[in-house]
């Protein structure tokens, strides 16, 4: 599979996940939903490197800001930083089962989701009287955990793929 084909698949996956992310009420727990776009961003960063990860995070975040009526730039910035952080764990030439199909992927995902939520909720609470710390503790950590838990599916699927 060529690199261009990979990027095409990422774009298709991104478009689908953008629509799915808007309708995640099905699996909301106390109004907290997993961030599928962060999972994709981290996946791209680990598979394609830091540069691709941060660009993917920015583009996905920007699109999500536009279609979700959020403050434009908040998701772009937070997802870009998530991709940037996840990119540090990129290993060139590593197989999918090695880079994503290991528990290390969950650790990277948790860290990236945490960075994403710190930045996102920092901007989220600005126009309100909410305390950033208390809001982050009650929502940010839970959302990071939920995202990490959902990414287990990606890890398990990747672990079964011997070649990609």
């Amino acid at each position: 599979m060529t690199a261009y084909m990979n990027y095409l698949w990422y774009a298709i996956a991104g478009l689908i996940l953008l629509l799915v992310q808007l309708n995640l009420g099905y699996i909301a727990v106390e109004s907290i939903t997993p961030d599928l776009l962060v999972i994709l961003t981290v996946f791209i960063a680990i598979r394609e490197g830091q540069f691709a990860g941060e660009i993917a995070g920015f583009v996905l975040g920007l699109f999500f800001d536009i279609i979700s009526s959020d403050i434009i730039g908040t998701n772009a910035l937070s997802k870009m930083l998530a991709g940037f952080v996840a990119g540090y764990f990129f290993t060139e030439g590593a197989a999918l089962s090695e880079s994503v199909g290991k528990f290390k992927f969950l650790g990277v995902m948790g860290l990236a989701a945490l960075v994403h939520n710190i930045v996102y909720y920092f901007f989220y609470v600005q126009p309100t009287n909410l305390s950033f710390i208390s809001f982050f503790v009650s929502h940010g950590i839970a959302a990071s955990l939920y995202t990490t838990v959902v990414s287990v599916i990606v890890m398990l699927v990747a672990a079964r793929k011997q070649r990609w």
Binding site: L19, L22, N23, G25, Y26, A28, Q50, F51, E54, I55, F58, L62, D65, I66, I67, S69, I71, I72, G73, T74, A76, L77, M80, L81, F84, G87, F123
Partner: protein, 286 residues
């Protein structure tokens, strides 16, 4: 120039990150600009049409939220209906009392029942009017339906009413149609009895029992209740007549104090001449 490009390529991740951070922060600061708003309007319209096309898919979360909201609304409306019903009943009751007050030949003082007991052997009610409002001990208390009792104690602002449902109750009464005089007592369980009606005189179930002029304590013709049962006991000269009180003491919330004082000279004379010779049967202390 080439060195700059090489430097950029070497640190492209950081340079790009920096550039994207700047772009993001600029976008955040200009989030409400009109250009972005119009662009967003178009994109939201497109997304909305996609979502609308997919709306046939069942959404359990939305249904659950809607269900929850409807249940809450149902609860609120039920509560509101209950309050309206209660208010309507109260209005009806007050309207009846107002009409009664306007047409009553007696001078009445309206009062609110602040508290009452109806399951003891001696039952009392507390009214929110006292001597400041002109209430005196012994004054009858009534509703538009009939006799409630009489004031037995009071201070400046409150008065205590001894209800008809009281072991000490003795009220001079007569039947409205039969014109037979007797006295009303309470059996301590739930029924009023009209006593001292001779078994020789025919009585009718459903006849109204009112206060009689034999008692100086009450104005005559205040309704006490309706005859609900008549029993003729073998070997007794009198009927056992059960009277259903006209007033529902369980739902008593408002009442009138009749500003009526008994003729003191008549009371004094009766006390002086009759009571020492009485062996029971008349009104006790009334």
């Amino acid at each position: 120039m080439q060195r700059i490009v090489e430097l950029f390529l070497r640190y492209k991740e950081y340079a790009t990150a920096l550039l994207l951070i700047v772009i993001s922060l600029l976008a955040i600061s200009r989030s409400s600009s009109s250009q972005l708003r119009s662009f967003r309007t178009i994109s939201v319209g497109v997304i909305a049409s996609v979502q609308s096309a997919l709306s046939w898919l069942p959404n359990p979360y939305a249904l659950e939220t809607e269900n929850h909201a409807l249940r809450q609304l149902n609860k609120d409306l039920s509560l509101q209906t209950m309050q309206y019903r209660d208010a309507a009943l109260k209005v009806e009751k007050l309207r009846a009392m107002l009409g009664f007050r306007e047409h009553s030949p007696m001078k009445l003082l309206s009062a609110e029942v602040l508290g009452k007991t109806t399951i003891q052997e001696r039952n009392y009610a507390t009214l929110n009017v006292g001597s400041k409002a002109g209430v005196k001990e012994g004054m009858p208390v009534i509703t538009e339906r009939g006799l409630v009792g009489r004031v037995t104690g009071l201070n400046d602002d409150y008065s205590v009413v001894e209800l008809l449902l009281n072991r000490d109750t003795r009220v001079a009464a007569r039947t409205l149609e039969g014109r037979n005089d007797g006295k009303i007592t309470w059996d301590g369980k739930g029924s009023l009895y009209l006593q001292d009606i001779p078994a020789a005189q025919p009585q009718k179930k459903g006849d109204t029992v009112v206060t009689s002029s034999y008692s100086p304590r009450y104005p005559e013709n205040i309704i006490i209740g309706i005859i609900s049962d008549i029993k003729e006991e073998r070997g007794s000269l009198f009927y056992q007549i059960r009277v259903q009180p006209a007033v529902n003491f369980a739902t008593l919330e408002e009442a009138f104090v009749v500003l009526y004082s008994p003729d003191q000279s008549r009371l004094d004379l009766e006390r002086k001449l009759i009571e020492p010779n009485q062996t029971g049967g008349g009104e006790k202390g009334r």
